[in-house]
Symmetry: C2
Amino acid sequence: MAFEKVTRSEDYSKWYNNLVVNADLAEHSAVRGCMVIKPYGYAIWEKMQQELDRMFKATGHSNAYFPLFVPKSLFEAEEKNAEGFAKECAVVTHYRLKTNPEDGTKLIVDPEARLEEELVVRPTSEAIIWNTYKGWIQSYRDLPILVNQWANVVRWEMRTRLFLRTAEFLWQEGHTAHATKAEALEETTQMLDVYADFAENFMAIPVVKGVKTENERFAGADDTYCIEGLMQDGKALQMGTSHFLGQNFAKAFDVRYTTKEGKQEFVWATSWGVSTRLMGALIMTHSDDEGLVLPPNLAPIQVVIVPIYKGQDQLDEISEKALGIQKELEKRGISVKFDNRDTHKPGFKFAEWELKGVPVRIAMGPRDLKNGTVEVARRDTKEKEVLQIDDLPTKVEHLLEAIQNNLFVKAETYRDNHITAVNTWDEFKDALENKTGFISAHWDGSGETEEKIKQETKATIRCIPFSAVEEEGKCVYTGNPSNKRVLFAKAY
Amino acid sequence: MAFEKVTRSEDYSKWYNNLVVNADLAEHSAVRGCMVIKPYGYAIWEKMQQELDRMFKATGHSNAYFPLFVPKSLFEAEEKNAEGFAKECAVVTHYRLKTNPEDGTKLIVDPEARLEEELVVRPTSEAIIWNTYKGWIQSYRDLPILVNQWANVVRWEMRTRLFLRTAEFLWQEGHTAHATKAEALEETTQMLDVYADFAENFMAIPVVKGVKTENERFAGADDTYCIEGLMQDGKALQMGTSHFLGQNFAKAFDVRYTTKEGKQEFVWATSWGVSTRLMGALIMTHSDDEGLVLPPNLAPIQVVIVPIYKGQDQLDEISEKALGIQKELEKRGISVKFDNRDTHKPGFKFAEWELKGVPVRIAMGPRDLKNGTVEVARRDTKEKEVLQIDDLPTKVEHLLEAIQNNLFVKAETYRDNHITAVNTWDEFKDALENKTGFISAHWDGSGETEEKIKQETKATIRCIPFSAVEEEGKCVYTGNPSNKRVLFAKAY
């Protein structure tokens, strides 16, 4: 492993990039801003997909698939949405290559194969989906429509970082249609709750639920709800959003339904999504200078067994025991890898599985064989203990639960210690620079003030927390009256 | 339901399109040649994905994800591959839209945001993947690489049909790298066997395994193995391909490895894929004039329960029983829908579930309540029987197995009756026109002959079956010597 040793305190950004590449999660591709998600990284993403998909289905949603391309005329139908994404659209203009007549070998774009109408590679699918829903919805009987899509989307970002911001990324986007505003609002909230549940109970990341300010709202939404996490370097990361779209897309695409009473009404909409960006959040919340730390609920390999042996006979003996342990653990739904490679030494394996964040490592040597024991090490605290093989299944099961819980508590403690309430502009700047994390402060509600604060400090309003209490206060920047604190932070 | 009544014998093609749309499987989108896969259709595709994914993992493969875009210079590196796909490539040339300065509202492609190098939307991913593998492979220890990708691809087709041929489609593409030719060949065969296993045991479609002629080979492959199915209208459909790519891509991208002995060798490659085209095969193999017929192993809903009642009291009584049945069946892993909608009559529901191909329908009325019985109808044969509720779980389990088996046997009988061995050109034309199906005939091995036959009859060589016996013969078209029969057919 060429794991370049850069610690978090030395250079958090470099540490992150090294970790992503060296733990075999992802790498940059030959295509500007696009990444390759490597098998180990993709296995974690698959675990996320499985859980989220289960949660979506449990709340009544079905999957479907809509085209990758959006004709320009549809794309521009909802003006705010179009305006918000126009600057980062990859555009298909031609549908054929041909041999270059000049050199006869290389290919060029065939100028005769120009599309009549350009196609936008979807940066998000509201337009193509609402154009489709128009054909699906006539009456109140056709509602609600509760559909999700797992797909790739493209947003031409100029400054990219693996998982956190890439030109192409993988995500899911839910798109629902409802008869009433109340029902759409309820859906918006429900899906935010699903995301928060997933973040906290699977990713072990505590999140703040809240609503975005108008400046930070999804283009085309009436309201954007979000979950915000806090990374180890004190920067916030938006982990998921759920949008109440009002009737904006229904109006842009003329989607109406007949009510029970025979009236024509526009349909109400939501959309909601999380992406491979969650991988970035997962890495940055829990990992340490030795590498990735994975919460057991999302680890593709929960337990690795490493044999320590001299010669084939000892390996055979250990293998027999190890395979028995593997079988017992797998019976309880625990995923286990027995690393019996003869090409690498135990020390190398220890470091590799540490780098890859496997929650529990079991080592087994000749003395263990004699004593009926193994050495069990947990990745999060690096504590080790010697356990009887007979006790292993139950103990490992509990250990995995303990690790999952410990990671959450640790992240929560860090997060709670990094929410600083301030009342003056000096306190604001001081906390932002010296303490980092979320700054809880009064704000006068104006977009202009928000923008000025951003210009001066790079901090943005992450959200107006749902849990914010009503209190009299003065905007930390203008002194104008405010009745609620909002959360500021520098963010990814 | 606006199920326009067109029978297969009246117009097979129209019957197919109506069925796809009316059974809520897919529909045309606003994007030329691209389809929307609707929730019910997507649920079937998800079942296919799950099974295939399980099979890929059981044979040692992992999933990963590679970019949607291929820079033109990489795309053209493997010349034959590039030549084969150049004519159907969607090309991204720009990365930004801007407001039209002339009218100030509509968007236009920003001429200043022209890409330095055009990006091809992947029609297949060998180029981008082998360019990536170059960085992954140094030594024999890095081999084999056994990776699969679930993705969307785009091939700009001029004549499209839902599922069978669309500009964008969903598929999986396996891309493996090996140290030796023998190992790569073994992989090519193994994955073809996986496809055949899936086709026969899940889709209930018998397939012929064989090798493609040079004319029909994948562009860039040394050999293409395939599985070919036969549809009800006597036309063949290529259901999956597994390519032995030799060292072509390794040479194009200079991917070498150091052997145990310290020598530098080019890496050997395979690729293999199946796509949403399988949905077309599934539909066309089993369905009838009343609608879709799904093999139980791929049906999202295996059993539907329809209550027949007057008034809420009766519905309540039936519901209690029905929910009990549902629970018992679900315990055995059977997926059940209790259709208690009060907006539709039983007759309507019967027709709808028939159209949607649910394998088993259970109806329950007041008399059944009294007798402790239900009426069970199977979708494939339309047979009905009255069964005791107590016997239901076991009987339904057996019924589902029987239906799965019956569909396969029926398709196999049809297929076997439609393989016609011919020895003269007149017999060939006669069988092709009047009997349809596969024509087993001698061929002289020349691409020119193959092409002439295609021009004259529209029949192509579907494959040289692996099971073909060595026998002396004369080419049905030229009379030249041949030592094996090949399978001709008109094909999708």
